[in-house]
């Protein structure tokens, strides 16, 4: 389910996956807490080694590596990056044009068409709704019927 094939990629591909997500997060020139939270979550789910995570985090300050990463990453990795990159770009509540530009570049490298990319954006929107339901649900009422906080 939430633990999908991304953890099955080779360690080097998982590092590229995380590197590319870092570039997406840094694309708009600022990194908000929500983006850091998602990045850390994605690296955790991909089971990137803790030491590798340290060097990947440094990538936030070196955003000129996109073409190399796109050239070397496998198609499967790029598709995971796109899926999770769109989630990441949405994390601060808005898609910045610089985030969109980098996502489009990755889509081209992943041989994904515009319609497919749009489907991915739609999928992310529905995920937001589901997740918002979860946050609402986490405020489950107490036994006396009043909100527990």
């Amino acid at each position: 389910m939430f633990c999908d094939g991304v953890a099955d990629l080779d360690a080097s591909e998982r590092a590229r996956y995380a590197d590319l997500l870092v570039l997406i997060a840094a694309a708009d020139g600022e990194l908000v807490r929500e983006e850091i939270q998602l990045l850390e979550g994605f690296m955790g789910r991909a089971m990137v080694h803790p030491e590798a995570r340290t060097s990947i985090r440094q990538g936030l300050f070196d955003t000129n590596r996109l073409s190399n990463l796109l050239k070397n990453a496998e198609q499967e990795t790029l598709r995971y990056v796109l899926r999770d990159g769109v989630l990441l770009a949405a994390a601060d509540g808005d898609y910045d044009r610089r985030e969109l530009r980098i996502l489009k570049k990755i889509a081209v490298a992943a041989e994904m068409g515009e319609d497919e990319l749009k489907s991915l954006f739609d999928w992310v929107s529905s995920g937001w709704e589901w997740h918002a339901d979860g946050i609402t649900l986490a405020k489950l009422p107490a036994r006396n019927g009043s909100l527990s906080e």
Binding site: M1, L120, A138
Partner: protein, 143 residues
């Protein structure tokens, strides 16, 4: 896998949240790769220090008691932990009886409505379907 109110909690609450998930991961005596990946994901989202993460990873081998885990949990961290404990329990495709019992115990400790766990399981199923849609979409691209 979206940003959460978890990040707004104080660090000790986030630590208590993650400790309960460590306990949950070991309820059925074995930890699957799916559960481990989910645990690592939530550990990342909790934005804990590398040292705290290390301690929590070690606690997977020797988890604290449920009572110890619940003692440190505030109401909001507790509800988020319960929600994510349901996600974690379901991450290997099924919530078994031992896991269900613990989840109900947590909900009771938090004083939630009797069907709280069932509501969360239903929500989790919808999430499964949503995630599977994303996965199917990626697979379709392979042609």
């Amino acid at each position: 896998m979206l940003p959460d109110t978890l990040q707004n909690l104080p660090r000790d609450e986030r630590y208590a949240y993650a400790r309960l998930l460590a306990y949950m991961a070991r309820v059925d005596e074995e930890i699957t790769v799916d559960e481990l990946a989910m645990f690592e994901q939530q550990l990342g989202k909790a934005l804990l220090s590398p040292n705290q993460r290390e301690v929590l990873r070690r606690s997977l081998k020797n988890p604290p008691s449920l009572e110890e885990c619940l003692d440190g949990l505030g109401p909001e961290a507790g509800r988020l932990a319960l929600r994510d404990a349901v996600l974690m329990a379901a991450s290997d495709g099924t919530v078994d009886d031992d896991e269900l019992e613990v989840l109900k115990e947590i909900a009771e400790h938090l004083g939630l409505v009797p069907d709280a766990v069932q509501q969360l399981i239903e929500w989790t199923k919808i999430g499964y379907a949503w995630m599977q849609d994303g996965y199917d979409m990626l697979n379709a691209l392979q042609g």
